[in-house]
Symmetry: none
Subunit: 211 residues, 4 copies
DNA sequence: GATGAATGAGAGTTCATTCAT
DNA sequence: TATGAATGAACTCTCATTCAT
């Protein structure tokens, strides 16, 4: 009688599961481009409907609200980010060089995907009102800072104190997010590309020089 | 003369000018606290009405739209910020120490005024859809980076190249804004207060150590 | 497909088309009575909502604005009017008698539908600010004058010049609309019903008597 | 103590009376042009304020509401009209010719003062919701029809019945107002100027030809 | 008398969400 | 499952009117 209120896992063979995640991905893709273009508050559900090629009802079948779409979007973006972070330390080699490389990678990805920074800023500011989003960012931040700490410790060659390592890691994390923020918001004719890796190098050198 | 829309500048003696700016300040103060608490999109004009103690009509007498309030708010905040920046270089002394001091000041002000970072993040993200706001941030950024460059040049004792100086200044600016962003968004039980000044010191040391 | 705004024409079988025009008719009927009663500017969307038995959202699903409702109302009223005009000349017989009959019909319809003249006046005056409405009236007027010219030519038995025919047709059209206007606006205790047909007869006689 | 609620006649010497009517005229002039341009509902009190060169308070000192301005405007326009009508019959001569002349005068005045017809239509439609305006139009109409009846009686040379005279007069009045209405609303490339006088001539001829 | 800042009820419109089919 | 028509609370902004000065 009653119609269930979301995607059914009951009696779900693999077909169902596949469709389910395909649909959700379809919706999240649409939301990604729409949010990046119009911002969360500037986007109407109808925009997502149109961009996804699905119907309004379908959207609400797979997500219970606009907010839930944003939350899931953040979860997925940060999950992917953590995945690629997880691959990082596996690669051996000079820690300082790896930090610089990570910075350059990040810098390049901002340039290659121009909607990334704007979207991130949009979602970041959403975090202030949506606890689930805030939690995801906080969790990711923790992981990220831990990784940076490890790399900084290795890169500083034992010259820096634990407190300095922590300060450096927090500063690096802030620098990276701040860089993205400026990328999204500041229009510079000259452009400030490619300086991030260099800055990381300088900071590492500073840590190393501590007596 | 005719009363068209908004406060009259015609025949304005000092009384009028005083009332005008008092009213605008009253409204901007209200908007500041409301935006900080609820966010721009979460704030209704009625919230500002209530917080200001004025009537709806009065708000629209002094500002033509909600957006204009936000723009003026940003303009004023950044104007004040530039003013206090302008006082900085006047003080002589060690440039490196001054940079650290600025960082600590900033860090402390975030702590003492807990709504500052959230409000900033909110307004920052507005900049993506409101060109006038974006322009204000861009202009401020330019000034800020120029100041940081001067200080870094002095602090590095000639050891760093122009390019390194620039990268460092951009990195510092990013670090500061990113720090505020994390302050607004990341809930850490331990807290990461007071690390900013230290991080700046490390970065300066790094610049100095460049051969 | 996407649900953007307004009823879908995509995949519309007859059911859909039927519902669509039923709903629009429902809204236009409501608007007709509300506009007649309160005038366009005196009517609130909520009045139409209430009169239609639909919700506010439904109204805006079928019409994008209050103005569009008025435009469509005019379009439909004049379309119907043209339809009944089109039937006129088909009937043979004495042209003069037919003109008088048309006048009497018009006169009677004003009496039988007391809200017709007030509504017409309301919409007429809207035409001054809404170009689409003005266009509809202009087009209708052209058709109407052409028909009157044909009838007058036939009725005058060749006695009148082309210029006189045209002047007479314009005068007749003006007389008819002016009659409605007075019906809507002038409160005469005696009433001036039934004089229109007679007046038309006099004018025709005048045309015939031209040497 | 208490401030009176309108222009004072107390202690009024002629100076006061003169100022009073000058001010009211100033306001009515402004309202005339503003209403003609924007329509009654499209005009804001601020528009009248601006056009009059007075202050908002002054407007409300001389008129108690926007509606009262419209009412007084109609009263004055129709009063002037009646005045010039009153001069008409004084001039002797052929009644038919005089009717045609009146029509031509009217036609010319519409052409020379292009805002007249639009303004009239606007005020006419206001009459439907503002009883005082309706009353003014009704009274004027009565006077006008009486005059037309007199002229038609004289012009018809006794050939027409009282009923025919009355129908003719009502028809003429309708024709004239309808003509103005079309002037305001219908955009014809060819233009239909100068046909009104001719049409009146035809109608008179028709009355004369009645046996 | 005159000014224009201030009021606040209410207008048209939007849009996240629901639900009959 | 899927659709898109329907809902209605809530929004920003307007503007006739008032009143302290």
């Amino acid at each position: 009688m009653g119609t269930a209120r979301g995607p059914q896992t009951t009696g779900s063979d693999e077909r169902n599961a596949a469709r389910l995640s395909a649909r959700r991905a379809q919706i999240l893709d649409a939301a990604t481009s729409v949010f990046a273009r119009l911002g969360y508050h500037g986007s109407r559900m109808d925009d997502i409907v149109q961009a996804s090629g699905l119907s309004k009802g379908a959207i609400y079948w797979y997500f219970k609200s606009k907010e839930e779409i944003a939350v899931e979007l953040v979860r997925q973006l940060l999950h992917d980010e953590e995945q690629s972070l997880a691959g990082e330390p596996a690669a051996g080699g000079d820690a300082g060089a790896r930090l610089s490389a990570m910075a350059d990678d990040f810098s390049r990805s901002l340039r290659e995907n121009p909607s990334r920074a704007p979207l991130a800023l949009e979602l970041l500011s959403l975090g202030q009102r949506i606890p689930a989003i805030k939690k995801h960012f906080t969790d990711y931040h923790e992981t990220y800072v831990a990784l940076l700490s490890d790399l900084l410790r290795a890169a500083s060659g034992g010259a820096a104190s634990t407190q300095q390592i922590r300060a450096g890691a927090l500063a690096l994390a802030a620098m990276v997010d701040g860089w993205a923020l400026h990328e999204a918001l500041i229009t510079t004719p000259s452009g400030h590309r490619d300086g991030l890796g260099e800055a990381v190098g300088i900071l590492v050198a500073g840590l190393r020089s501590q007596v």
